[in-house]
């Protein structure tokens, strides 16, 4: 059983960063982050990272991806509004999502990164995505991973 002091420590988490790729897991993660932020009177920033292949320069114009990113962020804002909360959304371009997420958390001095992950078994076994692995390994702040429930018949 967690001690009460530990639960109180959770309430010190005021600034939360939620990476969103538009997946159901990322919306779940956002909802959980908002619940925590409401209790701690904190704030939530959602980032969507556009991964730019090396064949293009980092600042290349990525119209389609940018539009999709804006749509995801708008969806996130709608979800927040439904929960009676206001979030900040940001679109980033980077070579790898993991790096961008950690850099953003460091720059903004975030208390926690809340990241969602699907339950996928691409090669017959559950695998944590490269991005989640990178964030777990390199983020200086707390990292909460929200994993979707396993669906029966999947895999």
């Amino acid at each position: 059983m967690p001690r009460l002091a530990d639960l109180r420590a959770l309430l010190d988490v005021r600034q939360l960063l939620v990476p969103s790729d538009g997946s159901p897991a990322s919306f779940e993660a956002l909802a959980q982050a908002i619940n925590v932020a409401k209790r701690s009177r904190g704030s939530v920033v959602v980032v969507h990272v556009i991964e730019v292949k090396r064949t293009l320069p980092l600042d290349a114009e990525m119209a389609d991806e940018a539009q999709r990113g804006e749509e995801i962020l708008a969806e996130c804002e709608r979800l927040a509004e439904e929960m009676d909360f206001h979030i900040e959304g940001e679109l980033l371009q980077a070579r790898e999502s993991g790096h961008a997420i950690v850099d953003e958390a460091v720059e903004r001095g975030m208390d926690a990164i809340v990241i969602g992950t699907e339950y996928r078994r691409p090669l017959g076994e559950f695998q944590l995505s490269r991005t989640v692995q990178y964030v777990l390994k390199h983020a200086p702040c707390q990292v909460w991973v929200y994993r979707m429930p396993a669906r029966t018949g999947e895999g």
């Binding site: 292949k53 090396r54 064949t55 980092l58 070579r95 790096h99």
Partner: protein, 222 residues
């Protein structure tokens, strides 16, 4: 400029760091993602490491070599550096390719194939040393412990040496020097007795330090 560095060793790391400081876009390609070195580069320099074989077209494709202004190959293997540069030139039309050469003897072939060469540190140092040394030099191998002033040395027999054709055990040597072993051009060892000396043989001798110059002359002069 977009500059690709193949090889994430010490040279690759410092090179990448310099280039980044100068404001270039840099990518380091390293075969072993989990090598302590490439982890170190990723941690020190950020998102500039790509795992892969820099000689393989698929890796270079993913690296965006087609838009690179320059590729610099600095692995510890000259053959890998050569191929990385050739693939970059022939397949991806990279305007400038440069290679670090580890063995100075390879400078000519790189230049003949149109690859700029950064003269390796080894070669620069050797050039410096060679000017200080007599033409057919005597290489000290080890000091014999507990025997003050006694050394084991190695001498390559130049074509034209007066001892060629002579039996090694019959060669007139200064006092305090002794031939212990001869290694022929094929790498086979021979004892001095009954073995006649050829050009390019390597003679291993034990000598007093003060007799070394005489020994060198006895073995190499015409």
């Amino acid at each position: 400029m977009y500059i690709i560095v193949v090889g994430g060793g010490k040279v690759g790391f410092y090179l990448a760091k310099e280039l980044l400081d100068e404001g270039h876009e840099v990518l380091v390609i390293e075969k072993d993602e989990h090598s302590p070195r490439s982890t170190f580069i990723a941690e020190e320099l950020g998102d500039v490491v790509l795992k892969g074989d820099g000689c393989e077209a698929a890796t270079l494709e993913a690296a965006g070599t087609g838009r690179a202004d320059m590729l610099i190959a600095v692995t510890g293997d000259d053959e890998d550096n050569l191929v990385a540069c050739q693939v970059a030139r022939a397949r991806f039309r990279v305007p400038k390719t440069m290679a670090r050469i580890n063995n100075p003897k390879n400078e000519l072939i790189f230049r003949k194939l149109g690859i700029d060469v950064t003269v390796s540190a080894t070669s620069a140092i050797l050039n410096q040393i060679e000017q200080e040394l007599p033409t057919h030099r005597l290489v000290p191998l080890l000091h014999l412990r507990g025997r003050a002033g006694l050394e084991m040395v190695e001498v390559r027999i130049p074509a034209g040496s007066r001892i060629i054709g002579k039996e090694a055990s019959d060669v007139l040597l200064p006092q305090g020097a002794m031939i212990t072993l001869i290694v022929d051009a094929d790498g086979n060892p021979h004892l001095p007795a009954g073995y006649s000396v050829h050009a390019e043989d390597v003679v291993i001798a034990v000598s007093r330090v003060d007799a070394e110059e005489q020994l060198r002359r006895a073995l190499t002069e015409r």
